[in-house]
């Protein structure tokens, strides 16, 4: 859950990249690792127990201060995609504030994508999270491949009104746009729940600028000022 510590003026946000195996979750985090300035992020930690394959996920912290001096700690996680890692997925999803659902945009993957989406809904519910109110963005990844679906994930969006962001994560395209879109929904959610703008005086632009001024936005549609066109 988003926590705003009044004494230390700290804001903690947990973001989980969810999706089927090989849909590009880790690729997203690796691209962000390359694009975000080292002084506002930690190392990309990959936990992979090779022998028994119980665990497999990535984690990267990003931390920055807003102009008003509020420290924002953003923790990005990926869940393991393989079916057998069900319990790890559920654990990583605990207390998440937002989900980037990374989906393979090809028609042939539609069945798997829907199955993982439903799996996510179940695991959110198991963690007491409501997919109808939780900030979620769908990344339509692998746009460079043929056989693209053109339904804008209508099957997924029946259960949660999530914006769709196109991407080719392996080339770094759409990765920042996805994070930007997600943080925008997160901001609006935080405004509703804790009044981040109205009570804490952190504007939407200020919040997004605080992070995106530390990001190499060249080649993306996210502008240096931190606002999407």
């Amino acid at each position: 859950m988003v926590t705003l510590n009044k004494e230390t003026r700290e804001l903690s946000i947990k973001v989980v990249y969810y999706g089927p195996a090989l849909s590009g979750k880790t690729t997203n985090l690796q691209a962000l690792f390359q694009k975000i300035e080292p002084k506002v992020r930690g190392r990309l930690m990959t936990i992979d127990t090779k022998d028994d394959r119980t665990l497999f996920f990535d984690m990267m912290p990003v931390f920055f201060r807003t102009a008003a001096g509020i420290k924002v700690k953003l923790k990005l996680y990926t869940v393991p995609g393989q079916v057998m890692h069900e319990s790890t997925r559920r654990i990583v999803l605990q207390g998440t504030d937002a989900v980037a659902f990374v989906a393979d945009g090809r028609r042939s993957e539609a069945g798997t994508t829907l199955a993982y989406w439903n799996n996510m809904l179940r695991n959110l519910e198991a963690n007491g999270l409501d997919p109808r109110t939780l900030p979620i963005v769908i990344q339509k990844n692998k746009m460079d491949l043929p056989d693209q679906r053109d339904d804008d994930f209508a099957d997924l969006r029946q259960s949660a009104n999530a914006p769709v962001v196109p991407a080719v994560a392996v080339r770094g395209e759409g990765v920042l746009e996805t994070l930007h879109a997600l943080l925008l929904v997160v901001y609006r959610d935080m405004e509703q729940r804790i009044g981040i703008g109205s009570r804490w005086g952190i504007g939407e632009r200020e919040f997004l600028d605080a992070i995106f001024t530390h990001v190499d936005v060249r080649g993306s549609r996210v502008q240096a000022a931190g606002s999407a066109p």
């Binding site: 930690m45 936990i47 119980t54 912290p61 931390f63 700690k73 890692h85 319990s87 605990q94």
Partner: protein, 485 residues
């Protein structure tokens, strides 16, 4: 449902991220290499490491003076607890003694999770002992203090900063590695616990479904037992009155009436056999069968069974024979054994075409056992059906157009009764050539607590077949019937 809080949700103190024993060794070798003391504190101010180099005499001397002691304590408090900027750069604290401390925050994931304190060291620009030190007491011995200070390393500012940067990078790697190991280990356990919890939940659901099914099964058995009983009562009257009429008690009969009555009686008898079998199986399933144990002459049982089925065999044009052999008398329930043999012989007759032969043989086996075998030259049983022929209601040909009738109860009853005697029944068959069923029984008749349909004794509950070795007990077995289907 909600999960217990994961390690991912917790703030982990510096002491848990480092393996303290080996970290202390690293600090020790570092302190020895640079000849500077090192102290490490976590965010709450707990001291994790304390390495002193060269300052023992100097600080010890100052500590002897009351003013020196109080100022020393104040300096230590500042160094340990005073806020430092959240940046990867050291903050310098000057000691009243002229020495100096450098404090480097331990930053991890944007948070200060502790601090490393270097010192005391002597700044290389210090020329003489400062007034703040020499004035702490009237009897302060400057020469002695200066001599002690010689043992503390003199460090140029640039060197101090380089050393600190190096150490901070080292700590960062150690903290990251420690964090990764801790997460791996703790999440591994959490994942296993979560999987276990999930399995446990599913098991409970299965258990519930299993109990519901068992209860339904019990109701079914009860229903069967009650219905069979209720059906038998009027049927006995049908057969009895037919018999009385055939004996002429109702007056003289025409040949046609006699023939009809005989058919009524015959069909009534076979219906009675079927109902009796159902009743037997219900009793077995409900665990209500008791064996009335007594000495049994197997030769007599064989003769009895063969003569019972003989009319049927003759009618079908089969040769039915039995070989008398010298056999020990065994301890068992005569009525149940007779029924087993009749069931097997009946089966053999049913599945053997005209012109074939059915033979009943017995022989002694080593280990105080006897075998009773019923062999036929019938149609045989395909091998894939053999493991299941003793199951209740099982039919090799289960189709609605099957050639041979039957309820699939006879062999199930045989197996239950034989196993209740502590024996076993087996089958061998070649399709088109014939089938041999063999019952092996212990001479001493060791009744075993056998579950109905074999092999579920461990599940407990009402399933166990109650068997009593009661030589003079009242046999609660079904009334003798000519044969079972």
């Amino acid at each position: 449902m909600s999960l217990p809080p994961s390690v991912l949700q917790q703030q982990i103190p510096l002491g848990d991220l480092l393996e303290l024993k080996s970290f202390t060794e690293v600090c020790q070798s570092f302190a020895e290499l640079y000849r500077i003391g090192v102290k490490v504190f976590d965010a709450a101010g707990n001291k994790l490491v304390d390495m002193k180099v060269g300052n023992a005499d100097f600080c010890g001397y100052i500590w002897q003076k009351p003013d020196g002691r109080s100022q020393c304590i104040a300096t230590v408090q500042r160094v340990k607890g005073e806020a430092v900027p959240e940046e990867p750069n050291p903050t310098v604290f000057d000691c009243f003694s002229g020495c100096r401390y450098a404090v480097q925050p331990v930053l991890y994931e944007g948070d200060v999770i502790g601090r490393v304190v270097f010192g005391p060291f002597v700044p290389d620009d210090l020329v003489a002992l400062p007034n703040t030190l020499t004035s702490i007491s009237a009897d302060f011995d400057e020469r002695l203090a200066a001599g002690y200070m010689q043992k503390i390393r003199r460090v140029p500012r640039a060197t101090a900063e380089k050393v600190l940067k190096h150490f901070a990078e080292l700590v960062d790697v150690l903290v990251f590695t420690g964090h990764k190991n801790l997460l791996t280990a703790r999440l591994h356990i959490e994942a296993v616990q979560e999987s276990y919890r999930e399995l446990h939940e599913k098991n409970a659901q299965l258990q519930e479904a299993f109990h519901a099914l068992k209860e339904l099964d019990r109701l079914k058995s009860n229903f069967l037992a009650t219905m069979s009983h209720e059906l038998r009562t009027p049927l006995t009257s049908v057969i009895g009155y037919s018999e009385m009429m055939l004996e002429g008690l109702g007056g003289p009969l025409t040949a046609e009436q006699r023939e009809y009555l005989q058919i009524i009686m015959e069909k009534g008898e076979s219906l009675l056999q079927l109902i009796t079998s159902i009743l037997d199986i219900s009793k077995i399933e409900a665990g209500r069968v008791r064996l009335a144990m007594a000495e049994v002459d197997l030769a007599a049982v064989m003769r009895d069974a063969v003569s019972t089925v003989m009319p049927l065999a003759r009618k079908k044009g089969l040769r039915l024979s039995w070989q008398p052999a010298p056999l020990p008398r065994i301890l068992g329930d005569r009525e149940k054994l007779r029924q087993c043999l009749i069931n097997l012989v009946n089966n053999a007759v049913k599945f053997t075409p005209a012109g074939g032969a059915v033979s009943v043989e017995a022989r002694s086996l080593p280990g105080e056992r006897v075998a009773l075998a019923v062999a036929d030259t019938g149609i045989g049983i395909p091998s894939q059906h053999l493991p299941r022929v003793f199951d209740v209601f099982y039919q090799v040909d289960g189709s609605s157009t099957r050639e041979f009738g039957g309820a699939g109860l006879g062999l199930a009853i045989v197996r239950s009764y034989v196993e209740a005697h502590g024996g076993e029944v087996s089958v061998e068959s070649i399709v088109g050539k014939g089938t041999t069923f063999t019952m092996v029984l212990p001479v001493a008749g060791k009744p075993a607590a056998v579950a109905p349909q074999g092999g579920e004794a461990a599940s407990g509950g009402a399933g166990a077949l109650g068997v009593a070795a009661a030589p003079q007990g009242v046999p609660a077995s079904p009334p003798s019937s000519a044969a079972a289907g």
